[in-house]
Assembly symmetry: C2
Homo-oligomer: 247 residues x 2
Protein backbone atom coordinates (compact mmCIF):
# COMPACT_ATOMS: atom_id res chain seq x y z
CA UNK A 1 0.00 0.00 0.00
CA UNK A 2 1.34 3.39 -0.98
CA UNK A 3 0.86 5.82 1.87
CA UNK A 4 1.91 8.68 -0.43
CA UNK A 5 -1.50 8.70 -2.10
CA UNK A 6 -3.66 11.72 -1.28
CA UNK A 7 -5.56 10.95 1.89
CA UNK A 8 -7.44 12.81 4.62
CA UNK A 9 -5.71 13.92 7.79
CA UNK A 10 -7.26 12.40 10.92
CA UNK A 11 -7.04 15.05 13.61
CA UNK A 12 -7.29 14.18 17.31
CA UNK A 13 -8.58 17.22 19.17
CA UNK A 14 -7.27 17.50 22.75
CA UNK A 15 -6.94 13.72 23.24
CA UNK A 16 -6.57 12.63 26.85
CA UNK A 17 -5.23 9.09 27.26
CA UNK A 18 -2.09 7.95 25.47
CA UNK A 19 -3.68 4.51 25.10
CA UNK A 20 -6.39 5.99 22.93
CA UNK A 21 -3.94 7.92 20.76
CA UNK A 22 -2.01 4.70 20.17
CA UNK A 23 -5.21 2.79 19.40
CA UNK A 24 -6.24 5.51 16.93
CA UNK A 25 -2.88 5.19 15.15
CA UNK A 26 -3.30 1.42 14.85
CA UNK A 27 -6.88 1.77 13.63
CA UNK A 28 -5.80 4.24 10.93
CA UNK A 29 -2.89 2.13 9.70
CA UNK A 30 -5.08 -0.99 9.63
CA UNK A 31 -6.83 0.71 6.73
CA UNK A 32 -3.80 2.34 5.14
CA UNK A 33 -4.12 5.86 6.55
CA UNK A 34 -1.03 7.51 8.07
CA UNK A 35 -1.61 11.27 8.18
CA UNK A 36 -2.35 12.00 11.84
CA UNK A 37 -2.52 15.39 13.51
CA UNK A 38 -2.80 16.07 17.21
CA UNK A 39 -4.16 19.22 18.81
CA UNK A 40 -3.11 20.10 22.38
CA UNK A 41 -2.84 16.56 23.80
CA UNK A 42 -3.54 16.64 27.54
CA UNK A 43 -0.37 14.80 28.58
CA UNK A 44 2.10 16.55 26.26
CA UNK A 45 3.93 15.27 23.21
CA UNK A 46 5.50 12.86 22.45
CA UNK A 47 3.45 10.54 24.65
CA UNK A 48 5.10 7.33 25.86
CA UNK A 49 1.83 5.46 26.48
CA UNK A 50 0.68 6.30 22.97
CA UNK A 51 3.92 4.99 21.47
CA UNK A 52 3.71 1.78 23.52
CA UNK A 53 0.11 1.12 22.44
CA UNK A 54 0.64 2.00 18.78
CA UNK A 55 3.01 -0.97 18.35
CA UNK A 56 3.42 -1.45 14.58
CA UNK A 57 1.86 1.95 13.81
CA UNK A 58 4.32 4.03 15.84
CA UNK A 59 5.56 5.76 12.68
CA UNK A 60 2.23 7.64 12.51
CA UNK A 61 2.98 9.23 15.89
CA UNK A 62 6.56 10.12 14.91
CA UNK A 63 5.26 11.89 11.83
CA UNK A 64 2.11 13.38 13.38
CA UNK A 65 1.71 17.15 13.16
CA UNK A 66 1.32 18.83 16.57
CA UNK A 67 -0.88 21.92 16.81
CA UNK A 68 -2.17 24.17 19.57
CA UNK A 69 -5.52 25.13 18.06
CA UNK A 70 -8.07 23.59 15.71
CA UNK A 71 -7.74 26.52 13.31
CA UNK A 72 -3.98 25.93 12.97
CA UNK A 73 -4.48 22.22 12.33
CA UNK A 74 -7.00 22.95 9.56
CA UNK A 75 -5.04 25.63 7.74
CA UNK A 76 -4.42 23.55 4.59
CA UNK A 77 -7.76 21.71 4.59
CA UNK A 78 -10.31 22.55 1.92
CA UNK A 79 -13.08 20.45 3.50
CA UNK A 80 -13.51 19.43 7.12
CA UNK A 81 -15.65 16.78 8.78
CA UNK A 82 -16.33 16.71 12.53
CA UNK A 83 -17.27 13.40 14.16
CA UNK A 84 -19.86 13.77 16.88
CA UNK A 85 -22.66 11.70 18.33
CA UNK A 86 -24.72 14.48 19.84
CA UNK A 87 -27.05 16.95 18.17
CA UNK A 88 -25.39 20.32 18.35
CA UNK A 89 -28.02 22.90 17.44
CA UNK A 90 -25.91 24.01 14.47
CA UNK A 91 -27.13 24.17 10.87
CA UNK A 92 -24.83 21.68 9.17
CA UNK A 93 -25.09 18.62 6.93
CA UNK A 94 -24.86 15.31 8.82
CA UNK A 95 -23.46 12.39 6.83
CA UNK A 96 -22.72 8.71 7.41
CA UNK A 97 -19.05 7.62 7.54
CA UNK A 98 -19.61 5.93 4.17
CA UNK A 99 -20.93 9.08 2.45
CA UNK A 100 -18.23 11.21 4.10
CA UNK A 101 -15.38 9.04 2.84
CA UNK A 102 -16.90 8.91 -0.67
CA UNK A 103 -16.92 12.71 -0.58
CA UNK A 104 -13.35 12.72 0.75
CA UNK A 105 -12.20 10.53 -2.13
CA UNK A 106 -13.85 12.89 -4.63
CA UNK A 107 -12.35 15.98 -2.97
CA UNK A 108 -8.86 14.48 -3.03
CA UNK A 109 -9.30 13.46 -6.67
CA UNK A 110 -9.85 17.16 -7.42
CA UNK A 111 -6.69 18.18 -5.56
CA UNK A 112 -8.38 19.19 -2.29
CA UNK A 113 -7.41 18.22 1.25
CA UNK A 114 -9.83 16.76 3.78
CA UNK A 115 -9.48 16.92 7.55
CA UNK A 116 -11.53 14.79 9.96
CA UNK A 117 -11.84 16.02 13.55
CA UNK A 118 -12.16 13.52 16.42
CA UNK A 119 -13.01 14.92 19.84
CA UNK A 120 -11.54 14.21 23.28
CA UNK A 121 -12.65 10.97 24.90
CA UNK A 122 -14.91 12.24 27.65
CA UNK A 123 -16.75 15.23 26.27
CA UNK A 124 -16.33 15.03 22.50
CA UNK A 125 -15.84 18.08 20.30
CA UNK A 126 -16.82 21.56 21.48
CA UNK A 127 -19.10 23.73 19.37
CA UNK A 128 -16.06 26.00 18.81
CA UNK A 129 -14.41 23.11 16.96
CA UNK A 130 -17.54 22.04 15.11
CA UNK A 131 -18.25 25.46 13.57
CA UNK A 132 -14.93 25.07 11.75
CA UNK A 133 -16.20 21.96 9.98
CA UNK A 134 -18.19 21.84 6.75
CA UNK A 135 -20.15 18.74 7.75
CA UNK A 136 -20.71 16.33 10.62
CA UNK A 137 -20.04 12.58 10.49
CA UNK A 138 -22.48 10.57 12.57
CA UNK A 139 -22.10 6.78 12.89
CA UNK A 140 -25.52 5.07 12.55
CA UNK A 141 -25.49 3.45 15.99
CA UNK A 142 -28.30 1.87 17.98
CA UNK A 143 -30.17 4.91 19.34
CA UNK A 144 -30.63 3.07 22.64
CA UNK A 145 -26.89 2.51 23.09
CA UNK A 146 -24.24 4.72 21.51
CA UNK A 147 -20.99 4.12 23.36
CA UNK A 148 -18.38 4.36 20.61
CA UNK A 149 -15.01 5.40 21.93
CA UNK A 150 -12.31 7.39 20.12
CA UNK A 151 -10.51 4.33 18.72
CA UNK A 152 -13.75 2.77 17.47
CA UNK A 153 -14.83 5.98 15.77
CA UNK A 154 -11.44 6.27 14.06
CA UNK A 155 -11.63 2.58 13.08
CA UNK A 156 -15.03 2.84 11.38
CA UNK A 157 -14.10 6.03 9.53
CA UNK A 158 -10.77 4.58 8.34
CA UNK A 159 -12.58 1.39 7.27
CA UNK A 160 -14.96 3.45 5.15
CA UNK A 161 -12.02 5.35 3.61
CA UNK A 162 -10.51 2.05 2.48
CA UNK A 163 -13.89 0.84 1.19
CA UNK A 164 -14.28 4.08 -0.79
CA UNK A 165 -10.81 4.04 -2.31
CA UNK A 166 -9.72 0.42 -2.82
CA UNK A 167 -11.10 -2.08 -5.28
CA UNK A 168 -12.40 -4.62 -2.80
CA UNK A 169 -13.72 -7.90 -4.15
CA UNK A 170 -16.83 -8.80 -2.16
CA UNK A 171 -16.39 -12.54 -2.63
CA UNK A 172 -13.59 -14.81 -3.75
CA UNK A 173 -13.14 -18.56 -3.53
CA UNK A 174 -10.14 -19.64 -1.50
CA UNK A 175 -8.81 -22.45 -3.65
CA UNK A 176 -6.01 -23.90 -1.55
CA UNK A 177 -4.50 -25.49 -4.68
CA UNK A 178 -7.67 -27.43 -5.51
CA UNK A 179 -9.24 -27.71 -8.95
CA UNK A 180 -12.96 -27.66 -9.43
CA UNK A 181 -14.53 -30.53 -11.34
CA UNK A 182 -15.44 -29.96 -14.97
CA UNK A 183 -19.00 -30.18 -16.23
CA UNK A 184 -18.18 -33.53 -17.85
CA UNK A 185 -16.82 -34.95 -14.58
CA UNK A 186 -19.94 -33.83 -12.72
CA UNK A 187 -22.13 -35.34 -15.45
CA UNK A 188 -20.34 -38.69 -15.22
CA UNK A 189 -20.70 -38.63 -11.44
CA UNK A 190 -24.42 -38.05 -11.94
CA UNK A 191 -24.55 -40.99 -14.37
CA UNK A 192 -22.74 -43.24 -11.93
CA UNK A 193 -25.11 -42.39 -9.07
CA UNK A 194 -28.17 -42.74 -11.29
CA UNK A 195 -27.11 -46.22 -12.45
CA UNK A 196 -26.35 -47.55 -9.00
CA UNK A 197 -29.42 -45.99 -7.39
CA UNK A 198 -31.50 -47.43 -10.20
CA UNK A 199 -30.09 -50.89 -9.39
CA UNK A 200 -30.85 -50.24 -5.73
CA UNK A 201 -34.50 -49.37 -6.40
CA UNK A 202 -34.10 -45.79 -5.18
CA UNK A 203 -36.32 -44.18 -7.85
CA UNK A 204 -39.65 -45.19 -6.43
CA UNK A 205 -42.58 -44.76 -6.94
CA UNK A 206 -42.37 -44.64 -10.70
CA UNK A 207 -44.54 -41.50 -10.88
CA UNK A 208 -41.91 -39.57 -8.94
CA UNK A 209 -38.83 -41.12 -10.55
CA UNK A 210 -38.29 -38.37 -13.11
CA UNK A 211 -38.40 -35.54 -10.61
CA UNK A 212 -36.16 -37.50 -8.25
CA UNK A 213 -33.60 -37.90 -11.04
CA UNK A 214 -33.86 -34.21 -11.87
CA UNK A 215 -33.37 -33.12 -8.26
CA UNK A 216 -30.33 -35.34 -7.92
CA UNK A 217 -28.77 -33.92 -11.10
CA UNK A 218 -29.50 -30.42 -9.89
CA UNK A 219 -27.83 -31.11 -6.56
CA UNK A 220 -24.58 -32.25 -8.19
CA UNK A 221 -24.36 -29.19 -10.40
CA UNK A 222 -25.35 -26.82 -7.59
CA UNK A 223 -22.56 -28.02 -5.31
CA UNK A 224 -19.13 -26.50 -6.03
CA UNK A 225 -17.49 -29.93 -6.24
CA UNK A 226 -13.76 -30.24 -6.63
CA UNK A 227 -12.07 -32.94 -8.68
CA UNK A 228 -11.10 -34.60 -5.40
CA UNK A 229 -14.72 -34.46 -4.18
CA UNK A 230 -15.85 -36.22 -7.36
CA UNK A 231 -13.26 -39.00 -6.93
CA UNK A 232 -14.32 -39.40 -3.29
CA UNK A 233 -17.98 -39.75 -4.27
CA UNK A 234 -17.21 -42.30 -7.00
CA UNK A 235 -15.26 -44.23 -4.36
CA UNK A 236 -18.15 -44.05 -1.90
CA UNK A 237 -20.48 -45.51 -4.52
CA UNK A 238 -18.09 -48.33 -5.49
CA UNK A 239 -17.64 -49.19 -1.82
CA UNK A 240 -21.41 -49.37 -1.28
CA UNK A 241 -21.63 -51.86 -4.17
CA UNK A 242 -18.79 -53.98 -2.71
CA UNK A 243 -20.49 -53.89 0.69
CA UNK A 244 -23.77 -55.03 -0.89
CA UNK A 245 -22.01 -57.78 -2.84
CA UNK A 246 -20.44 -59.13 0.36
CA UNK A 247 -24.07 -59.90 1.18
Amino acid sequence: MDSKHPQPAFILVRPQMGENIGAAARAMWNFGLDHMRVIAPRDGWPNERAVALASGAGRLLDNAGLFQTTAEALRDCTYVFATTARQRGLTKPIVTPERAMEQARAIHAEGGKVGVLFGPERAGLENEDIVQANAIISVPVNPDFASLNLGQCVLLTAYEWRRATEEIVAEVMELAGTEFATGLEVEKLGDHFEERLNDAGFFFPEAKADSMRLNLRNMWSRLPLTRADVQTLHGVLRQMVRWKERG
Copy 2:
Protein backbone atom coordinates in the same frame (compact mmCIF):
# COMPACT_ATOMS: atom_id res chain seq x y z
CA MET B 1 -34.68 -0.85 18.43
CA ASP B 2 -36.42 -4.17 18.67
CA SER B 3 -33.92 -6.84 19.66
CA LYS B 4 -36.54 -9.53 18.96
CA HIS B 5 -36.00 -9.22 15.21
CA PRO B 6 -34.23 -12.19 13.61
CA GLN B 7 -30.51 -11.61 13.87
CA PRO B 8 -27.28 -13.61 13.66
CA ALA B 9 -25.70 -15.07 16.77
CA PHE B 10 -22.18 -13.76 17.36
CA ILE B 11 -20.20 -16.65 18.80
CA LEU B 12 -16.97 -16.09 20.75
CA VAL B 13 -14.85 -19.22 20.45
CA ARG B 14 -12.62 -19.88 23.50
CA PRO B 15 -12.26 -16.17 24.39
CA GLN B 16 -9.43 -15.40 26.80
CA MET B 17 -9.68 -11.98 28.46
CA GLY B 18 -12.87 -10.85 30.15
CA GLU B 19 -12.14 -7.31 28.94
CA ASN B 20 -12.47 -8.46 25.35
CA ILE B 21 -15.72 -10.32 26.01
CA GLY B 22 -17.14 -7.15 27.54
CA ALA B 23 -15.89 -5.04 24.63
CA ALA B 24 -17.48 -7.48 22.17
CA ALA B 25 -20.82 -7.16 23.98
CA ARG B 26 -20.65 -3.36 23.81
CA ALA B 27 -19.67 -3.44 20.12
CA MET B 28 -22.63 -5.71 19.31
CA TRP B 29 -25.17 -3.63 21.19
CA ASN B 30 -23.85 -0.42 19.62
CA PHE B 31 -25.34 -1.78 16.40
CA GLY B 32 -28.43 -3.40 17.88
CA LEU B 33 -27.25 -7.03 18.11
CA ASP B 34 -27.80 -8.93 21.35
CA HIS B 35 -27.57 -12.66 20.60
CA MET B 36 -24.17 -13.67 21.98
CA ARG B 37 -22.84 -17.19 22.46
CA VAL B 38 -19.66 -18.17 24.24
CA ILE B 39 -17.71 -21.38 23.73
CA ALA B 40 -15.39 -22.62 26.50
CA PRO B 41 -14.23 -19.24 27.83
CA ARG B 42 -10.74 -19.60 29.34
CA ASP B 43 -11.59 -18.00 32.69
CA GLY B 44 -14.97 -19.66 33.26
CA TRP B 45 -18.46 -18.21 33.20
CA PRO B 46 -19.88 -15.82 34.28
CA ASN B 47 -16.79 -13.61 34.02
CA GLU B 48 -16.57 -10.60 36.36
CA ARG B 49 -14.15 -8.64 34.19
CA ALA B 50 -16.44 -9.12 31.20
CA VAL B 51 -19.43 -7.84 33.15
CA ALA B 52 -17.47 -4.82 34.40
CA LEU B 53 -16.31 -3.90 30.90
CA ALA B 54 -19.67 -4.47 29.20
CA SER B 55 -21.21 -1.59 31.19
CA GLY B 56 -24.51 -0.79 29.42
CA ALA B 57 -24.44 -4.03 27.43
CA GLY B 58 -24.24 -6.40 30.41
CA ARG B 59 -27.63 -7.88 29.53
CA LEU B 60 -25.99 -9.60 26.53
CA LEU B 61 -23.70 -11.51 28.87
CA ASP B 62 -26.56 -12.48 31.20
CA ASN B 63 -28.44 -13.91 28.24
CA ALA B 64 -25.46 -15.40 26.40
CA GLY B 65 -25.59 -19.11 25.60
CA LEU B 66 -22.65 -21.07 27.05
CA PHE B 67 -21.33 -24.07 25.07
CA GLN B 68 -18.41 -26.47 25.36
CA THR B 69 -17.83 -27.12 21.64
CA THR B 70 -18.27 -25.28 18.37
CA ALA B 71 -20.57 -28.00 17.04
CA GLU B 72 -22.94 -27.55 20.01
CA ALA B 73 -23.01 -23.79 19.57
CA LEU B 74 -23.91 -24.12 15.88
CA ARG B 75 -26.63 -26.75 16.26
CA ASP B 76 -29.52 -24.43 15.20
CA CYS B 77 -27.55 -22.45 12.60
CA THR B 78 -28.35 -22.93 8.92
CA TYR B 79 -25.40 -20.86 7.70
CA VAL B 80 -22.13 -20.12 9.47
CA PHE B 81 -19.43 -17.52 8.86
CA ALA B 82 -15.95 -17.76 10.38
CA THR B 83 -13.93 -14.57 10.82
CA THR B 84 -10.23 -15.05 10.17
CA ALA B 85 -7.36 -12.97 8.89
CA ARG B 86 -5.08 -15.78 7.76
CA GLN B 87 -5.26 -17.96 4.68
CA ARG B 88 -6.23 -21.42 5.80
CA GLY B 89 -5.62 -23.76 2.90
CA LEU B 90 -9.29 -24.72 2.86
CA THR B 91 -11.57 -24.49 -0.14
CA LYS B 92 -14.16 -21.99 1.05
CA PRO B 93 -15.74 -18.74 -0.14
CA ILE B 94 -14.16 -15.63 1.41
CA VAL B 95 -16.46 -12.62 1.71
CA THR B 96 -16.24 -9.05 2.96
CA PRO B 97 -18.13 -8.14 6.16
CA GLU B 98 -20.52 -6.14 3.98
CA ARG B 99 -21.34 -9.07 1.67
CA ALA B 100 -21.60 -11.46 4.63
CA MET B 101 -24.14 -9.32 6.46
CA GLU B 102 -26.17 -8.82 3.27
CA GLN B 103 -26.27 -12.61 2.95
CA ALA B 104 -27.17 -12.92 6.64
CA ARG B 105 -30.09 -10.53 6.18
CA ALA B 106 -31.33 -12.58 3.22
CA ILE B 107 -30.95 -15.87 5.11
CA HIS B 108 -32.88 -14.54 8.11
CA ALA B 109 -35.59 -13.18 5.81
CA GLU B 110 -36.09 -16.78 4.60
CA GLY B 111 -36.36 -18.09 8.15
CA GLY B 112 -32.76 -19.31 8.49
CA LYS B 113 -30.35 -18.70 11.35
CA VAL B 114 -26.83 -17.35 10.89
CA GLY B 115 -23.92 -17.86 13.27
CA VAL B 116 -20.69 -15.85 13.11
CA LEU B 117 -17.60 -17.38 14.73
CA PHE B 118 -14.94 -15.13 16.29
CA GLY B 119 -11.69 -16.77 17.38
CA PRO B 120 -9.64 -16.42 20.56
CA GLU B 121 -7.52 -13.28 20.84
CA ARG B 122 -4.06 -14.68 20.40
CA ALA B 123 -4.31 -17.44 17.81
CA GLY B 124 -7.64 -16.95 16.07
CA LEU B 125 -9.86 -19.83 15.01
CA GLU B 126 -8.49 -23.34 14.55
CA ASN B 127 -9.07 -25.21 11.29
CA GLU B 128 -11.32 -27.56 13.30
CA ASP B 129 -13.66 -24.59 13.88
CA ILE B 130 -13.38 -23.21 10.35
CA VAL B 131 -14.40 -26.45 8.60
CA GLN B 132 -17.75 -26.08 10.37
CA ALA B 133 -18.36 -22.77 8.61
CA ASN B 134 -19.92 -22.27 5.18
CA ALA B 135 -17.84 -19.18 4.38
CA ILE B 136 -15.05 -17.00 5.75
CA ILE B 137 -15.37 -13.31 6.56
CA SER B 138 -12.19 -11.37 5.88
CA VAL B 139 -11.97 -7.64 6.70
CA PRO B 140 -10.25 -5.75 3.84
CA VAL B 141 -7.35 -4.43 5.91
CA ASN B 142 -4.04 -2.93 4.84
CA PRO B 143 -2.00 -5.99 3.80
CA ASP B 144 1.07 -4.41 5.42
CA PHE B 145 -0.64 -4.08 8.80
CA ALA B 146 -3.53 -6.25 9.91
CA SER B 147 -3.83 -5.96 13.67
CA LEU B 148 -7.57 -6.09 14.27
CA ASN B 149 -8.43 -7.40 17.71
CA LEU B 150 -11.53 -9.32 18.75
CA GLY B 151 -13.55 -6.25 19.73
CA GLN B 152 -12.70 -4.44 16.50
CA CYS B 153 -13.64 -7.44 14.38
CA VAL B 154 -16.97 -7.74 16.21
CA LEU B 155 -17.50 -3.98 15.83
CA LEU B 156 -17.00 -3.92 12.04
CA THR B 157 -19.20 -6.98 11.50
CA ALA B 158 -21.98 -5.59 13.71
CA TYR B 159 -21.70 -2.23 11.91
CA GLU B 160 -22.22 -3.99 8.59
CA TRP B 161 -25.23 -5.87 9.99
CA ARG B 162 -26.85 -2.58 10.90
CA ARG B 163 -25.97 -1.08 7.50
CA ALA B 164 -27.52 -4.11 5.79
CA THR B 165 -30.73 -4.11 7.80
CA GLU B 166 -31.60 -0.52 8.74
CA GLU B 167 -32.74 2.26 6.46
CA ILE B 168 -29.84 4.64 6.98
CA VAL B 169 -30.06 8.10 5.44
CA ALA B 170 -26.64 8.97 4.06
CA GLU B 171 -27.08 12.70 4.47
CA VAL B 172 -29.48 14.97 6.36
CA MET B 173 -29.35 18.64 7.16
CA GLU B 174 -29.34 19.40 10.87
CA LEU B 175 -31.68 22.36 10.99
CA ALA B 176 -31.48 23.50 14.60
CA GLY B 177 -34.79 25.34 14.22
CA THR B 178 -33.51 27.52 11.39
CA GLU B 179 -35.40 28.32 8.22
CA PHE B 180 -33.67 28.51 4.88
CA ALA B 181 -34.15 31.66 2.84
CA THR B 182 -36.65 31.54 -0.02
CA GLY B 183 -35.62 32.08 -3.62
CA LEU B 184 -37.20 35.54 -3.49
CA GLU B 185 -35.23 36.51 -0.41
CA VAL B 186 -31.98 35.37 -2.01
CA GLU B 187 -32.87 37.26 -5.19
CA LYS B 188 -33.49 40.46 -3.22
CA LEU B 189 -30.21 40.02 -1.41
CA GLY B 190 -28.52 39.70 -4.79
CA ASP B 191 -30.26 42.89 -5.98
CA HIS B 192 -29.16 44.74 -2.87
CA PHE B 193 -25.53 43.70 -3.29
CA GLU B 194 -25.56 44.48 -7.01
CA GLU B 195 -26.91 48.01 -6.43
CA ARG B 196 -24.42 48.90 -3.71
CA LEU B 197 -21.47 47.33 -5.48
CA ASN B 198 -22.49 49.18 -8.62
CA ASP B 199 -22.45 52.45 -6.65
CA ALA B 200 -19.04 51.45 -5.27
CA GLY B 201 -17.55 50.86 -8.74
CA PHE B 202 -17.02 47.15 -8.07
CA PHE B 203 -18.02 45.95 -11.57
CA PHE B 204 -14.88 47.02 -13.39
CA PRO B 205 -13.66 46.76 -16.10
CA GLU B 206 -16.85 47.07 -18.09
CA ALA B 207 -15.94 44.07 -20.30
CA LYS B 208 -15.97 41.80 -17.24
CA ALA B 209 -18.95 43.36 -15.46
CA ASP B 210 -21.53 40.87 -16.76
CA SER B 211 -19.59 37.79 -15.73
CA MET B 212 -18.81 39.36 -12.34
CA ARG B 213 -22.54 39.92 -11.80
CA LEU B 214 -23.29 36.37 -12.87
CA ASN B 215 -20.71 34.86 -10.54
CA LEU B 216 -22.02 36.86 -7.63
CA ARG B 217 -25.61 35.74 -8.32
CA ASN B 218 -24.40 32.18 -8.60
CA MET B 219 -22.61 32.39 -5.28
CA TRP B 220 -25.73 33.54 -3.42
CA SER B 221 -27.84 30.74 -4.82
CA ARG B 222 -25.14 28.13 -4.29
CA LEU B 223 -24.79 28.91 -0.57
CA PRO B 224 -27.44 27.32 1.65
CA LEU B 225 -28.33 30.67 3.24
CA THR B 226 -30.77 30.81 6.11
CA ARG B 227 -33.23 33.62 6.60
CA ALA B 228 -31.02 34.86 9.43
CA ASP B 229 -27.95 34.79 7.15
CA VAL B 230 -29.78 36.93 4.61
CA GLN B 231 -30.74 39.48 7.27
CA THR B 232 -27.15 39.57 8.51
CA LEU B 233 -25.83 40.21 5.00
CA HIS B 234 -28.35 43.01 4.36
CA GLY B 235 -27.18 44.53 7.65
CA VAL B 236 -23.53 44.24 6.65
CA LEU B 237 -24.26 46.09 3.41
CA ARG B 238 -26.25 48.87 5.11
CA GLN B 239 -23.47 49.33 7.64
CA MET B 240 -20.84 49.63 4.89
CA VAL B 241 -22.92 52.42 3.35
CA ARG B 242 -23.23 54.22 6.72
CA TRP B 243 -19.48 53.89 7.24
CA LYS B 244 -18.82 55.35 3.78
CA GLU B 245 -21.26 58.19 4.41
CA ARG B 246 -19.48 59.12 7.65
CA GLY B 247 -16.66 60.04 5.26
